[in-house]
């Protein structure tokens, strides 16, 4: 056996590969066997091949630390995160249930507000949410779909169970990395992949396009779908253009769109063309300067009015952000019980709301042990990880929480599961999470797998790309037996 695993420590965390020292879990047997036979040189060569491929393909994101917007590759780790099929079935059921309840919640909140009237969720909390859009009360979006795309972040705790950490119902990003990671893995480990019978992910963009077409006005025979991007300097521009390319639709900026006669058009070399569905990767606030932020140069004046008249569909609809407010998240299990009459399949992480007096007291007394999050931030910003913070940082947050309790929630510091990761020329455990992508069109569809993010710094629990995180390919194994041929191939070639 190679010495790549010599420095591997088996701590108190759940490890995705090892059940114990030298005891791989069944879903990892083949990959472990392959890694165990691999020399250091071979491993580094493969990592270099993967990095080069990403750079040449321009799979990059933009960082703004130096004001110039430098492009970086999103660090990619060679060792896949592998999910057995039974585990995935469970996750799929849990996520479908959650998506169904969230859609019913949004419909309710923008119409009858039964859940508030019956006191299951405090009215205050919803009405004070920054992303609750009063302008949308009473509005019915196409096909009664109030949310079409959700990226739900899952973690696996020390007990080996999955928990939902948060929902992303505005414009969740990262799916292009899932698809690109898979392309690169196919190049780097072709035979290994074939022998493991990994479920494919490529159908995602096809499903996404169908989800979007489902929203078009019914009388239009060939609807025009566009992806609306804030522009090439946005950190996720690569993803916007990737998705447009894969779906074969136009990618547009706000300035490409014009509103005339209650319709939206895009400006082409042959005059104006009508637009029927907009997959917008711009937050509500910036969509239309005549309704939301007046200073927005990214949006389209008059767009919201056309949307309200039903002449153009938006994905996600306006106002979904109220459901990804981290304080609303606390009530999702309650929504599942209220709307579906079921118990949640996937549990939430224990959460404390600083807007309720009892919880506030608890939070302030236990700050060094907790993770505190600002309710509307994403990307690992506006967050305190108590055990890893200095006294000053903790006191700074204490003051912020007292000043605005509605703006924060707290959760116990959870030891995320670890996955073997290439670090410093050897393999070490690093913490990971998982973001599956859930589409809600004519039915709920979930791509098998999702984005596994990995905290590359030793001991770090923060997986966001802006905070030193990387990603891994996520393999969901199929139940189907591995075809004979690829087994043979593995013996011959690997």
């Amino acid at each position: 056996m190679s010495d790549l695993f010599n420095a591997y420590t088996h701590g108190r965390f759940y490890d995705e590969l090892f059940a114990g020292p030298d005891a791989p879990r069944p879903n990892y047997e083949r990959v472990f066997a392959r890694l165990a036979r691999m020399t250091r040189e071979e491993l580094l060569e493969k990592q270099a091949l993967a990095d080069q491929t990403f750079l040449w393909r321009g799979v990059t994101f933009t960082v703004y630390s130096d004001n110039r917007g430098t492009e970086r590759i999103f660090p990619f780790d060679l060792i896949p995160r592998i999910i057995p099929s039974t585990e995935w079935d469970y996750l799929e059921r849990g996520l479908t249930q959650r998506m169904t309840a969230l859609n019913l919640f949004l419909e309710d909140i923008y119409h009858d507000q039964r859940i508030l009237k019956e006191g299951r969720i405090p009215r205050d909390l919803i009405e004070s949410s920054k992303h609750f859009r009063r302008e949308m009360v009473g509005f019915r979006p196409p096909r009664d779909l109030y949310v079409h795309i959700n990226g739900t972040d899952l973690i696996r705790a020390e007990d080996g169970k999955y928990y939902v950490l948060e929902d992303n119902l505005r414009t969740p990003s990262g799916v292009s990395y899932v698809l690109e990671n898979r392309q690169v893995m196919k190049r780097v480990f072709p035979n290994l992949m074939a022998s493991c019978s990994v479920r494919p992910v490529e159908q995602y963009t096809y499903d996404l396009l169908n989800t979007l077409l489902h929203l078009a006005p019914e009388h239009v025979p060939e609807p025009n779908v566009v992806v609306l991007t804030p522009g090439v300097y946005n950190s996720a521009y690569f993803e916007h253009s990737f998705l447009a390319r894969q779906m074969g639709v136009e990618i547009v900026e706000g300035s490409d769109l014009v509103v005339q006669n209650d319709r939206v058009y895009f400006r082409t070399t042959r005059g104006l063309q009508p637009v029927h569905v907009i997959y917008r990767r711009i937050d509500d606030d910036f969509l239309d300067p005549t309704v939301f932020r007046k200073d927005s140069l990214l949006g389209v004046p008059g767009l919201v009015d056309v949307y309200r008249k039903g002449n153009v569909a938006l994905c996600n609809p306006i106002g979904t952000g109220v459901a990804d407010d981290k304080a609303t998240y606390y009530y999702v299990p309650e929504m599942i019980r209220f709307y579906l009459g079921q118990e949640p399949i996937l549990p939430n992480v224990d959460t404390y709301l600083s807007s309720t007096p009892g919880d506030l007291k608890f939070i302030l007394e236990n700050l060094p042990k907790l993770v505190v999050k600002s309710v509307n931030e994403a990307g690992g910003y506006g967050m305190l990880v108590g055990p890893h913070s200095t006294k000053e940082q903790i006191e700074d947050f204490r003051a912020k929480i007292i000043a605005n309790p509605r703006n924060f929630i707290a959760q116990p510091t959870i030891g995320l599961s670890t996955c073997p990761t290439v670090c410093d020329q050897q393999i070490e455990p690093r913490h990971v999470d998982l973001r599956p992508y859930i589409l809600n069109g004519s039915s709920v569809k979930i791509m098998p797998g999702g984005l596994t993010r990995v905290a590359l710094r030793r001991g770090s629990l923060v997986v966001n790309s802006s905070q030193g995180g990387g990603s891994k390919d996520t393999w969901v194994l199929s139940d189907e037996p591995v075809p004979q041929q690829s087994q043979r191939e593995e013996k011959l070639i690997l």
């Binding site: 321009g58 490409d256 042959r270």
Partner: protein
């Protein structure tokens, strides 16, 4: 297609063509200087014209104290403050390609991205170490590979036509600038006309357009000013001649406007068509009599106004009065 995308495609093509031609003009000048066996005191006069014909001499003077080789090479290839340096052109072309990645295949993008990555951080030191000939040949090769990949991958739709339009308009302009370099280099010593050195210099001009062999095959006999100018401006078949470039640009605009009503009522079709027709009725004597430099100046102005017509017709028209399709 989207006006913004058409504009980006058009400029991507223009900037790449410009980068290629800057490398060619630099190569031509290096050859001219080598062959001229100049005294040290003449060297600055040998490098000044290059900057002058690009029209960027004002920026140059702000950046460098003198027109020596290292300064001109840095300015032409590497200085990001010169918007027409090869580096700046490649960066802009690649940025445009990034904006239209949904329109181009992965291979096309990878080719321009690699050209971009190869150029980052390079300096005059690298240029000197590798040698001017090899360094410039590598850049040309990389851009030519891009053209090859693009030609074999891009569907021949409107996007292709805007790419062609940009590429050939830029080429017509750039080839005229290349001829101008020779004009300025010659200027101080009119007595040289007709000498061996003159023939050698005109050969260098031909080589920088990769036209030497083609010229030899097509026009037997001696190499002199009139014959080389005739070939590079008026030849019907050589792909880097100005006439060929203008003809291709006109084909592109015809394809873009083909299914529109009254396409000659379209200002860019009209101005480009008129320019193309001019070439059909021009012989080299006319150009010499008009004055080569003056003729080139006039051509560049016409190309500039065709560009403005293109912008107004396709990229930045007024939406309030625009036609609504579908």
């Amino acid at each position: 297609m989207l006006s913004r995308v058409a504009n980006l495609t058009y400029w991507m093509a223009r900037y790449l063509e410009r980068a290629e031609n800057s490398a060619r003009i630099l190569d031509a000048n290096t050859q001219l200087v080598l062959d001229a066996q100049l005294q040290a005191s003449d060297l600055s006069r040998a490098w000044e014209p290059m900057v002058f014909v690009s029209g960027d001499d004002k920026i140059f003077r702000e950046l460098y104290p003198a027109f020596d080789e290292a300064a001109v090479v840095d300015f032409t290839l590497f200085n990001p403050k010169n918007p027409n340096s090869v580096l700046a052109c490649v960066n802009t072309a690649r940025e445009n390609a990034r904006c239209i990645r949904d329109q181009i295949s992965g291979e096309i993008w990878e080719q321009i991205n690699r050209l971009y990555l190869d150029l980052q951080g390079k300096t005059v030191k690298d240029y000197q170490r590798i040698g001017s000939g090899q360094f410039l040949a590598d850049i040309r090769q990389s851009i030519l590979t891009f053209y090859g990949v693009a030609a074999s991958m891009l569907p021949r739709n409107e996007s292709w036509q805007f790419y062609e339009l940009g590429r050939y308009l830029e080429r017509a302009d750039n080839t005229s600038r290349l001829l101008d370099v020779k004009y300025f280099t010659l200027l101080p010593s009119v007595t040289l006309v007709g000498t061996t050195l003159d023939a050698i210099q005109w050969s260098a001009v031909l080589r920088s357009c990769s036209a030497f062999e083609a010229f030899r095959k097509n026009r037997r006999g001696q190499i002199n000013a009139e014959r080389v100018i005739d070939y590079l401006i008026l030849d019907e078949h050589f792909p880097r001649s100005i006439r060929y470039a203008i003809t291709q640009a006109e084909e592109a605009i015809r394809a873009i406007t083909r299914d529109r009503d009254h396409h000659f009522s379209n200002p860019p079709s009209r101005s480009l068509g008129r320019l193309r027709a001019d070439f059909d009725y021009t012989v080299i004597k006319d150009i010499i009599e008009f004055g080569l430099h003056e003729w080139i100046d006039k051509l560049q102005t016409t190309i500039g106004s065709i560009h403005t017509d293109i912008e107004k017709a396709f990229f930045f028209y007024d939406t309030a009065t625009a036609k609504i399709a579908g």
